[in-house]
């Protein structure tokens, strides 16, 4: 019956694209997601805006007029200690994120790949640094440094940042390693890869998203930390501590400019990559 009728149906019908079941929903989801990202960027927009402000007094609170003045090199460098603080922040962030990610990933692997005595207790112990109020942790650590007569500086800041970031990395990475297919690691070992090589060539690529996420979290934690840094910084300032002090006199516009520049570096990186991966992401973002 219809078996014979079917071939006569217009060809166009055959070619009619299958109804985009998943795509439509995907569009809503994509719109929503972009809205959330936009929301995350909202305060940044304000920050950028106030980087172009031309306040008459020392407070950069209300928009007084547009100027590019603070982007001029002389104004940008008007507060070398701010730039210095930025340099410190970046150094601390880089080192501590790297170390915390390394330590944390190793612990996550140990916790999820092996059963060993004290595993449960260790697991619980790892929550403690996250549960400890910063000020408590900061002053306790300071007491330790004082007792050991360690002078405070970049090193002690890095030590502290690594310390409080590890748990965050562990928890993040564990969310993935817990369910990794063990056969893949077996296969690597079978093919002559020692544990390190197995990690490097198989485990790591497979958990890379988690490690990346953990590293980013550690970086944000470090960059944003104020209280713990405060206690262990000695004569060194990071961006948050310097700004906190500056609020009393008035946070200079340069802070917004510097923040904008850091942000722009990230944006430029993202944009370049978006262009490079054109058409590979969601159809909605890629130009049609």
């Amino acid at each position: 019956m219809s078996a014979t009728a079917a071939p006569q149906k217009p060809r166009a019908r055959d070619r009619a694209p299958a109804p985009p079941r998943t795509k439509r929903r995907g569009r809503w989801l994509g719109l929503y997601s972009k809205a959330v990202i936009a929301y995350l960027f909202l305060p940044i927009a304000v920050m950028i805006l106030f980087g172009f402000n031309d306040p008459k007094g020392r407070f950069n609170y209300t928009f007084q007029g547009f100027t590019l003045r603070y982007y001029s090199p002389s104004e940008l460098l008007a507060f070398p200690e701010l730039n210095e603080a930025m340099r410190h922040s970046l150094i601390v962030m880089g080192i501590s994120a790297l170390a915390a990610t390394t330590f944390g990933t190793l612990i996550a692997l140990a916790l999820t790949r092996y059963r060993f005595r004290g595993r449960g207790a260790f697991n619980l112990f790892l929550f403690l640094p996250m549960a400890t109020p910063e000020i408590t942790m900061g002053s306790a650590l300071l007491a330790l440094f004082v007792t050991l007569n360690v002078s405070r500086g970049l090193t002690t800041i890095v030590i502290a940042h690594i310390m409080f970031s590890i748990s965050y990395v562990v928890v993040t990475v564990k969310a993935r390693t817990a369910t990794l297919d063990r056969h893949l690691e077996d296969a690597a070992a079978d093919l002559g890869a020692d544990p390190w090589t197995t990690f490097r060539t198989v485990t790591f690529p497979l958990i890379r998203p988690a490690i990346l996420a953990g590293a980013l979290l550690a970086a944000v934690l470090s960059f944003d930390d104020y209280v713990i840094t405060l206690f262990n910084k000695g004569a060194v300032d990071t961006v948050p501590t310097w700004i906190a002090g500056a609020t009393r006199i008035g946070v200079p516009v340069q802070v917004n400019v510097l923040g904008t520049l850091v942000f722009m570096v990230g944006v430029v990186y993202v944009v370049i990559n978006l262009i490079r991966t054109r058409g590979e992401g969601t159809p909605a973002i890629a130009p049609r």
Binding site: G57, Q64, L77, A78, E81, V146, L230, K233, G245, R248
Partner: protein, 369 residues
């Protein structure tokens, strides 16, 4: 009187543990100076005052802007000082009440006033022999400010003169108070007609009651740190406790904003220079202290910082400046208070330890409902 005696007792008590002498009697050529960010004059990324000092004295200044606020700075140096260790600073700038506290705890060196002729000569009279540091034994002022009331007449619709205006239900939800215990408690005591210096714990309890009522009635919007200035200019608060220097700055953006020392009285607080115990380069520190009491130098600093200058002679120097901004600085009563204003100013009450604990407890109950 009583204060000075207690001080002497303490010093004697700790005499054995605490070296009465400086670690050195020589100029070493190095000075480690901890100050608040942006609390000294700047030009083209440099600090002229520091540069001038280095040139004139052959002392290298390691100037660091590491102090965020009194309490956390004290938190970070307390441990080593309590352990009788040397900290990295030879010279620090902290507010008067903390000077009193640190002196009480024996954390500060005595000042050798023979090395501070400029101070004797140029300092304003209000700044000499203050209640928080009798005889300027441990400190001399850096800059100072007034705690009073700031408001936006456009919004309040009327002139503000009294402390009671902070309790006007018409401003409910638009009133700002401070998280700073000393500012808020002392100002409230003044509002209640009590001289802070004479205040008892009962007075403090009355002040607490007053503040609690204000809070319960929904008049207070928020207890602010530094951000009250932001809220004021944005209209989130209409009337608020305020520091003179902030309002001076805000007036550039909104000239309508006003600062008043309430009729009941306001508070003069002073940020002081002091030498921490066991400092490595005390003489260099004294050299610097003396240096900034040169009126020219004081004027240079004040012209940029715009806080109240402890050297009255600086006003005349600034008044001779040609540029508009400096003229404004020179003429503003918020930088050089009028004698009439000064007459209404009081210092914080210098608190004994148990008093401090009691006041803190009372105040914490206010802001941590």
């Amino acid at each position: 009187g009583i204060r000075g005696e207690a001080e002497r007792n303490r010093t004697e008590e700790n005499g054995a543990a605490q070296d009465p002498d400086y670690t050195t009697d020589e100029i070493t050529g190095t000075l480690n100076f901890a100050n608040w960010p942006l609390y000294i004059d700047r030009a083209k990324g440099k600090r002229p005052t520091i540069d001038d000092f280095e040139k004139s004295s052959d002392i290298q200044v390691n100037y660091q802007e590491v102090i965020e606020d009194n309490e956390s700075f004290f938190g970070t140096i307390r441990e080593p000082l309590a352990n009788d260790q040397q900290i990295e600073w030879d010279l620090i700038v902290v507010t008067d009440w903390l000077i009193a506290k640190m002196a009480r705890l024996g954390y500060l060196e005595q000042l050798d006033h023979s090395r501070l002729p400029n101070f004797e000569q140029n300092a304003g009279e209000v700044y000499k022999d203050p209640t928080y540091d009798p005889g300027n034994a441990h400190s001399i002022p850096w800059q100072s400010g007034i705690t009073g009331i700031g408001y936006d007449p456009k919004r309040t619709g009327r002139e503000i003169t009294s402390f009671e205006d902070l309790f006007d239900p018409a401003f409910a939800g638009k009133v700002g108070m401070f998280t700073e215990m000393r500012d808020t408690m002392n100002l409230t005591l003044l509002g209640l007609g009590v001289d802070p210096q004479e205040a008892t714990v009962e007075d403090a309890e009355r002040a607490q009651q007053k503040l609690l009522e204000q809070r319960e009635a929904g008049i207070v919007r928020e207890y602010y740190g530094n951000e009250y200035a932001d809220a004021l200019i944005r209209g989130d608060v209409w009337i608020t406790m305020a520091w003179s220097g902030d309002i001076f700055q805000l007036q550039f953006d909104d000239p309508d904003l006003q600062f008043v020392v309430p009729d009941e009285g306001g508070i003069l607080w002073v940020d002081n220079m002091a030498i921490p115990q066991n400092a490595a380069h005390p003489i260099d520190a004294l050299e610097f202290m003396n240096f900034v009491y040169d009126p020219e130098v004081a004027a240079q600093i004040t012209a940029w910082v715009n806080y109240i200058c402890p050297v009255p002679a600086a006003q005349d120097i600034l008044a001779q400046a040609k540029d508009n901004y400096t003229q404004q600085v020179a003429q503003s009563p918020l930088v050089f208070p009028t004698p009439e204003m000064e007459a209404r100013l009081h210092s914080y009450k210098t608190l004994e330890e148990d008093e401090e604990e009691a006041w803190n407890d009372l105040f914490n109950q206010v802001i941590q409902g």
